[in-house]
Symmetry: C2
Subunit: 314 residues, 2 copies
């Protein structure tokens, strides 16, 4: 029952050319940094990678694109990687794009033994091409197939030698769903703890899903678009005249909110709304990655890479 | 954002005759005792109840069968309730039986906006009657429809006024999946705590799924089949001659286990195997309700109703 291996190199000893690998993470948040580095070092080729994003040009999955180790990417958003774009346009990289919820659900189905399911998402779009459409309750739905990997690479905060895992903040993202959807699951953790240290009711992933575990080293935990709050943005140092135009819009939008609202904030100006919630108002903000309880941008020095995924471009 | 209501009576003020209610719990473990009592008191009729079990003759859902408030039960196992059997045989109660995993998945799909999915479970059995069968990857699968309720009644350990919930031990069972699958979700909790007391990463159900919450009173938390360990059973007080025949079988079966095994123990003699795991061997036992990490039967006085669901009959 001891699933510990020495390091990432030992963990991927059985990885073969042509394998399909599920990689946890959302943007650069909660990605298996050590395992990605080990695959690059090993030089395994013709890989199919399943991941929400394709990393940056020089970080995350981007590192495996540089070395042309990837044959196909199954992803939802790949817009932060110029090399990715070039490779696709040159026909050197296949890409299969999915709506984000559909991809999460395809993986979840793969883990639950469900080969196919129906979803309203994507009907009438390019995503629907070649897929069965069927009406349920008067509404058309697409049939989507499940997704599984030969391997899943996941990154957790803490784990024990049985493979029980706890994730920190938004790093749980795809990691939690991928553990059930692969034949061989490797977990890298920031801290390997003693058996019994993790409170059973707080374990996010029971060890039964994990085949190998090791404590990673040298986590960079890069923040894709670091954005901090400025005093002027929240009106503490000046009048509305000091606000940028986008903040002015966000402040006006915030006035539409009412106590008890749940509000999903998309990337861009919407995330700025979080900076302008009136004091005393109780609303719950949801970020694009699904996390509830988003607050305003952090003050300088209070950034947390396990919480921030992508922030607005300046 | 304050979802607190005074009590169960106030929580079900809008419950109408003919409603469909999802009820959390597995056996008597984690059932919404206060809400069931309130429905009985209110006298609402022609209800469709979705629950793993139908309670006992005098506890849980059984209380609503006594008063003939239930038109239909959607369940997986109803064998502990004689009144249930009588009502079905007399044609006074409709019943729709589901494989356990299928029912959990139907609810999960209902919560995820998925109207239908394919599963291999039930192919070629009575369950398949009238359902589409389709091959995926060379294996026949049934198409199952999702399940939703007008209401979901869930029972949690702790909750706050935003509706964030934490469950204790195996009481999470169906409660955790039902919260997403109903139009109006009412949570009764043993302890209503202040906002901020629940650690975000440890919350099992985010408040967004919950419409009303109250602190329940007078929890009985009955144990269906209380079974404790006896000294003789584990060989501490005697030789194998003192073992019951069933324990003798269980002890022999335990000899087949090997370090690192995951073992699912069904109800009956299999659960006795847990009493005979050789010292020093690391295996993970799974109980019928899905919980990993089962141990031997508790010693007298150490029973925990949030852990024990059904135990073997003596």
């Amino acid at each position: 029952m001891d699933k510990r291996v020495a390091n990432a190199d030992a963990a991927i000893a059985k990885l073969q050319d042509g394998a399909t690998i599920l990689l946890g993470g959302f943007g650069l948040c909660g990605i298996p940094e050590n395992l990605i580095a080990a695959v690059r070092k090993r030089g395994t080729k013709n890989l199919t990678l399943v991941s929400n994003n394709a990393g940056l040009d020089d970080f995350g999955i981007g590192l495996l694109l540089q070395t042309r180790q990837v044959k196909k990417m199954i992803a939802t958003y790949v817009g932060e990687n110029k090399l990715f774009e070039q490779l696709v346009l040159k026909g050197e990289l296949e890409v299969e794009l999915n709506p984000q919820g559909t991809m999460a659900e395809r993986l979840r189905a793969g883990g639950a033994g469900i080969p196919a399911f129906f979803t309203p998402t994507g009907v009438g779009t390019l995503i629907a091409e070649g897929k069965e459409v069927r009406d349920f309750d008067g509404r058309p739905h697409l049939m989507e197939r499940s997704l599984r990997g030969d391997f899943a690479f996941v990154k957790a905060w803490k784990g024990d030698r049985w493979g029980n895992l706890i994730f920190r903040k938004t790093t749980r993202n795809y990691n939690a769903v991928m553990v059930a959807a692969a034949d061989h699951v490797i977990a890298e953790v920031e801290e390997l703890v003693e058996l019994g240290e993790l409170e059973p009711d707080q374990i996010h992933t029971p060890g039964v899903y994990v085949n190998a575990i090791f404590q990673g080293v040298g986590y960079e935990k890069r923040i894709e678009k670091r954005t901090v709050r400025k005093r002027a943005e929240v009106g503490e140092a000046g009048s509305s005249a000091t606000l940028a135009k986008t903040d002015f819009i966000a402040r006006r939008v915030a006035e539409e909110l009412r106590d008890g609202f749940y509000v999903n904030l998309g990337i861009g100006i919407p995330t700025l709304v979080a900076n302008h919630i009136p004091a005393g108002m109780e609303v719950v903000l949801q970020s694009e990655n699904g996390m509830l309880g988003v607050g305003p941008f952090p003050w300088e020095g209070e950034e947390d890479p396990d919480l921030i995924t992508r922030e607005r471009k300046q």
